[in-house]
């Protein structure tokens, strides 16, 4: 296995996440797709750390996990607040602001 395979896998995961954000309608699923993007970044970072023999990439991956956890807290709080009001987490229902 060369490291290119891992990089390609990470790129595919990132793309799946990015496409998911654009096409999925449920805020929770959109959020999961963003998490998928962040984790594909972690895979990329660790692959590069392995390839270059430095530890920096692994440390950054740890930082990314912590930040992602903080993001989950804030994101779910916001989605919960709007779900309680509307009984729906679809991003298509969030349509009062336009034009």
């Amino acid at each position: 296995m060369t490291i290119t395979n891992y990089l390609v896998l990470a790129a595919i995961l990132f793309t799946i996440g990015a496409v998911g954000v654009l096409v999925r309608r449920n805020a929770i699923v959109v959020f999961m797709c963003i998490e998928l993007m962040l984790n594909s970044v972690n895979l990329t970072l660790i692959t590069f750390a392995r390839a270059s023999g430095t530890v920096e990439g692994q440390v950054i991956a740890l930082f990314v996990m912590v930040v992602a956890a903080a993001e989950v807290v804030v994101g779910l709080a916001i989605i919960m607040a709007i779900y309680r009001t509307r009984r729906s987490a679809s991003v298509d229902d969030v349509n009062l602001l336009k034009y």
Binding site: L7, G75, I78
Partner: protein
């Protein structure tokens, strides 16, 4: 085996950041332990102390050029100038948050954010004078993140700062007391799109790390010289720029801006529009000139295209708006484009006049926008704010002072001479022309003329239309909003009539280390 060596930390150089983060941490403790009755004044005092202390610290540090915290932070002229600007804008925003005279329930922020909007409990609370004060520590954290963002000498620190400034802003957008659904909707949109953009920034970080083996900006610069046209590096740079341009609300990454500006509480919108823009451009300048200053061919065409797109989108779509806050949002998109003309005007290794011009523009634009949004909080109908343009018709007859001040801010945004907006625009356009980017300056002039139309339309509406019989009332502001409007109006005039000393200051501060 030796332990890990502690990095050198210059606490003096970090003083502005320590002040703001200290205020944020103390604010959290106050929120948890202080009795409810004293919380509001105490929180306001703490947040103001943090911001003002940070501003004083940046003044005392003037002239410092050092890289500290193990090379992760660069405290230089640009960082200090922008940190000072952000601290002033932050202090003024905190004053706007603390206004208690305008809303009948004594605060523009929701009593309990977790109660479902429109429920029985929510209706009970909507007239309750109990005020939630969590917005002050959140604002301090956002302020600290913004100040860190301008000093980040490392892509990792830049990413952490990006999140530290964004996460509190997502929450603050959802805290409006009136029109809670709009506010929550703004928070969801801002959060989902913001997290999406930071994922792009992060992927760019990973690719740049792969291409150069480091995330330190100076190491990236050295590697970029040696390797030249590395695809991975260019791809990484592109993704990093996407993430930063999203925060700076540059078209085509602007789609969140109008919705969030309209839905968020107006004081929070003022804070976002003014301070976030300064912070985001601070990071853009540092990334492009410290890390990629020797590889300009990689980003110059990209920034060129983004500047034109942003100016055209902001000016043309701004024409069709019927809501004051949305109009100011499109104005902010157009101004992001003007700022990018200053970024283009930096010249090789940041030696051109563009750096100082961009810094001055950020200061002038931030103060003017803050003042304009501050006035929007005054025009009210019923319990909330009257933001529809038709409600502003004939405002000059109801309140000559508010109409005159709004006119001043709009003229400054349009860039009419004798206001700060003119000085700023003149400086960035001149910088662009001097570095040979005159086509960009031509586009900027044309879009300025288009944008001037929608600013002037509001002025015409305020002065030459009959007021609607059941039009809005103009609230009498308390001391905090009065101070904000007076300071920003004075600054808008002074920076227009006598900009010399501030321009010199920006010139002497225009040094990036790294």
């Amino acid at each position: 085996m030796d332990g890990v060596a502690a990095p050198d930390l210059s606490f003096a150089a970090l003083a502005p950041l320590l002040f703001v983060f200290g205020a944020a941490a103390v604010g959290v403790l106050v929120e948890a332990f202080a009795p409810r009755a004293v919380r509001h004044p105490v929180q306001v005092a703490i947040a103001l102390t943090g911001a003002v202390g940070a501003f004083v610290a940046t003044l005392l540090l003037a002239g410092t050029r050092e890289v500290t915290a193990g090379g992760a932070l660069a405290v230089d002229g640009v960082a200090l100038f922008l940190q000072g600007t952000i601290a002033v804008l932050g202090a003024l925003s905190v004053l706007l948050f603390s206004e208690r005279a305008l809303d009948p329930a004594r605060s523009a922020f929701v009593a309990v954010a977790s109660v479902p909007a429109g429920s029985v409990r929510d209706r009970e609370l909507s007239t309750d004078e109990r005020v939630q004060t969590e917005v002050y520590p959140l604002a301090s954290f956002a302020l600290g993140g913004m100040m860190l963002f301008t000093a980040a000498n490392d892509l990792l620190v830049m990413f952490v700062a990006l999140e530290v400034l964004s996460l509190p802003l997502y929450l603050m957008s959802g805290l409006a007391r009136r029109r809670r659904l709009l506010s929550q909707e703004a928070a969801v949109k801002y959060f989902l799109l913001g997290a999406f953009a930071s994922a792009f920034f992060l992927y760019g970080l990973a690719l740049v790390y792969g291409a150069t083996g480091s995330v330190r900006l100076s190491a990236i610069r050295d590697a970029a010289v040696v390797e030249g046209g590395d695809t991975l590096l260019v791809l990484g740079l592109g993704l990093l720029v996407v993430g930063l341009m999203f925060k700076a609300s540059v078209a085509p990454f602007h789609t969140w801006t109008p919705d969030v500006y309209q839905g968020a509480p107006t004081a929070v919108t003022a804070f976002m529009a003014a301070a976030t823009k300064v912070a985001a451009f601070g990071a853009v300048l540092r990334l492009l000139y410290v890390a990629f200053g020797t590889a300009e061919w990689t980003w110059r065409p990209l920034v060129y295209a983004l500047a034109i797109t942003s100016m055209v989108v902001g000016a043309v779509l701004g024409l069709t708006q019927t809501d004051v806050k949305r109009m100011l949002a499109y104005s902010s998109i157009a101004h992001a484009g003007f700022l990018l003309t200053g970024v283009i005007g930096l010249g090789a290794d940041g030696s051109g006049p563009g750096l100082a011009a961009t810094m001055f523009y950020l200061l002038a634009y931030g103060l003017t926008t803050l003042g304009a949004f501050g006035l929007v909080t005054l025009v009210r109908s019923g319990e909330g704010e009257a933001t529809h343009l038709s409600q502003w018709a004939g405002l000059a007859q109801r309140s000559p002072v508010v109409a005159a001040l709004m006119g001043l801010f709009l003229l400054a945004l349009a860039g009419i001479p004798l206001t700060s907006g003119f000085t700023g625009k003149f400086a960035v356009f001149r910088a662009a022309i001097e570095t040979g980017a005159w086509p960009l300056a031509v586009v900027a002039l044309v879009t300025s003329a288009i944008a001037a139309f929608f600013y002037l339309r509001v002025i015409v509406l305020m002065y030459f239309s009959e007021p609607a019989p059941e039009g809005p009332t103009v609230g009498v502001p308390g001391l905090p909003t009065t101070i904000v409007v007076a300071v920003t109006a004075a600054a808008t005039l002074v920076l227009g009539v006598l900009p010399g000393s501030v321009l010199d200051l920006a010139d002497s501060a225009a040094v990036l280390v790294g």
